[in-house]
């Protein structure tokens, strides 16, 4: 047992190391071309210089947000995949992201976001929860949540919400249209520090929240019936984890827009590398998700600078290709 613990500690240390390396690397590169040598002297000199501002006011907030959003999305993926023992379940396929997106679009069109920036994550979360409730009650038969129906309903709701978004775009004025398109493309550029802080707080809260359920998630791996035989209150656990993952997704989507693939690919990837035990899987996915999104964002903003690509372009391409490669290698 202690051998296992030792191995896990090493793995977490390595992942934390990777996360820090990626963050520092991301902090050091950018289109303004500050040479590496100058970075240390700039940091030591402190506030005041242009370089300092670029590193700490432009690059650092993005890295922090990338960490929180990547962590949140892959955490939501781990929870949902564990809960439903289905490799295709993730915030997107369950329609949670779609719901959040719809909420944010409505917010933009109705002009609510002018009143408070906080209304964006709130409407994202409201959309996510609404979809979760719809999916939940539609698949709830005689008090029991049927997993087979859940995925199909989720996919359908996802389609419905993207159609509704298109509908909103078709009938909205040109000015609002820009707002929606910018938001849909997804970006980790967020001027409001408060929003970044909230996202970070929520993701860390989500990590601890999910960790409380690691036993239940491990039990769920045996199947729902066996889990309840092992003493897990399956319905209560499902509800709690469902809400937790929609909270994580809603917040991530409303701040950073639609960023695909992280929630689906990262948990699988971590399972392949580290194993199926949720005690380690939860933390490892969180760290890997954060590092992955920071890396993707760094590529997105530098690869064809000064043009900045939507980060979803990079996560989709790199995540997808990497995943297919490892899947085939394993066979």
């Amino acid at each position: 047992m202690s051998k296992k613990l030792f191995r896990w500690s090493i793995q977490i240390l390595i992942l934390t190391g990777v996360l820090f390396t990626v963050s520092i690397f991301s902090l050091c590169i950018g289109s303004s071309g500050i040479p590496l040598k100058k970075i240390f002297s700039t940091i030591l000199e402190g506030r005041g210089s242009t370089e300092y501002s670029i590193i700490f006011d432009i690059r650092l907030p993005r890295i922090i947000l990338g960490f929180a959003v990547g962590g949140s999305l892959s955490l939501a993926g781990v929870i949902l995949q564990g809960l439903f023992r289905n490799p295709l379940v993730e915030p997107y396929t369950l329609g949670i992201s779609g719901g959040a997106a719809l909420g944010v679009c409505l917010n933009i069109v109705l002009g609510i976001y002018h009143t408070s920036v906080l209304s964006l994550p709130v409407s994202g979360f409201a959309g996510a929860v609404l979809v979760v409730l719809i999916v939940y009650f539609l698949t709830l038969k005689k008090g029991i949540l049927k997993i087979q129906g859940l995925l199909l309903t989720g996919v359908m709701i996802s389609f419905i919400s993207s159609s509704l978004i298109m509908f909103i775009m078709a009938i909205s004025k040109v000015e609002d249209l820009h707002g929606i398109i910018f938001w849909i493309m997804g970006s980790l550029e967020e001027p409001n520090m408060l929003l970044i802080k909230i996202t970070v707080l929520l993701s860390v809260f989500g990590l601890f929240g999910a960790y409380l359920f690691y036993r239940d998630l491990n039990a769920f791996a045996l199947g729902e019936e066996d889990a309840s035989h092992l003493g897990v209150d399956t319905e209560k656990t499902k509800k709690a984890l469902f809400i937790l993952s929609s909270l994580l997704t809603g917040c991530a989507v409303s701040v950073a827009g639609v960023i695909g693939f992280v929630g689906l690919v990262i948990p699988h990837f971590v399972r392949m590398l580290i194993g199926y035990d949720h005690r380690i899987l939860i933390i490892a996915s969180f760290l890997t998700g954060g590092a992955f999104l920071i890396a993707c964002d760094t590529i997105a903003r530098t690869v064809i600078a000064p043009i900045e690509l939507p980060v979803g372009v990079i996560t989709g391409i790199i995540g997808g290709v990497m995943f297919i490669y490892f899947l085939n290698k394993r066979k």
């Binding site: 303004s32 501002s53 432009i58 078709a170 040109v174 000015e175 043009i307």
Partner: protein
């Protein structure tokens, strides 16, 4: 009297010091207007689509019209960033947080608004007189054209026009757009009555326009022309009056190019007749 003079000079001096010397423009039309105002040398950065005039190509490129590289903008240390209606609102906020002054020009809805924004731009960059002179000249030209076309209009020669600015889905201009202004000032009647710009082909066939104007939209314009030719009942098709106009000219005019494009539209609507 002396006091007043000093006040005026002092005020001018203070005001003069406020004019920006390092400007970054985030829109091709804005860049073009800055050059028209003779403030081209103050532009230190613009977008990769800023190609008019020739000199604009040599400036530092900070991104596209919708996405810009904040680091690059920041390192150029501008006094002023001029944003367009297409600029990402998050970028503007972030620039403000970084302590960079940003002025955003919204989408101009008609010719008057184009002129007003041009004057405003002139005032901001300290070229008020130049701006006023240009606007006066342009207004004169446009009024002259309008006078001629109003005669046409009253003689019941008003041409029904359909303007296509987007394909798949079919997209036209709304009434509150300067493109509508082009048509009406040229003595045409814009058949489209839509709030969003989305339009159905059926509706166009039913309304039977005399002229169809298509913007180039890259290369899609030619393809669209072929599609329209299938609908033989439309007057514009019968009389072979489908025209392709450069997207940039029609959709992103400066006051000066507005007058030029308006001339072009008049020639399209009333070939040869206008100069009689």
């Amino acid at each position: 009297m002396k006091k007043i003079l000093i006040l005026i000079f002092g005020f001018n001096f203070l005001y003069g010091a406020d004019f920006p010397d390092r400007i970054i423009s985030l829109g091709p039309t804005l860049t073009e207007q800055l050059y028209l105002l003779d403030a081209g040398e103050k532009v230190i950065g613009n977008t990769i689509y800023c190609k008019i005039p020739e000199d604009a190509k040599n400036k530092e490129k900070v991104g596209t019209i919708i996405e810009q590289d904040l680091e690059k903008i920041f390192i150029l240390k501008p006094d002023l960033v001029i944003a367009s209606s297409m600029t990402n609102p998050k970028t503007i906020k972030k620039l403000n947080v970084l302590g960079i002054k940003v002025v955003q020009f919204t989408y101009a809805k008609n010719f008057n608004e184009i002129c007003r924004q041009f004057l405003e731009l002139g005032e901001i960059v300290g070229k008020k007189k130049e701006a006023e002179k240009i606007i006066e000249e342009v207004r004169g030209k446009v009024e002259l054209i309008k006078k001629k076309t109003i005669i046409r209009n009253s003689a019941k020669e008003g041409q029904k026009v359909f303007v296509q600015i987007g394909a798949k889905p079919l997209f036209t201009t709304t009434k509150d757009s300067f493109i509508n202004d082009f048509i009406e000032s040229a003595g045409g009647i814009n058949i489209a009555n839509t709030k969003t710009g989305l339009y159905s082909r059926e509706e166009v066939v039913a309304q039977n326009p005399d002229v169809i104007i298509i913007t180039t939209m890259g290369i899609a314009g030619e393809g669209e022309k072929k599609i329209w030719k299938k609908y033989k009942t439309i007057n514009a098709v019968k009389n072979n009056r489908i025209y392709i106009v450069d997207s940039y000219k029609l959709c992103s005019p400066t006051p000066v190019s507005f007058a030029e494009t308006l001339n072009e539209i008049v020639e399209i609507l009333y070939p040869k007749k206008i100069n009689e």
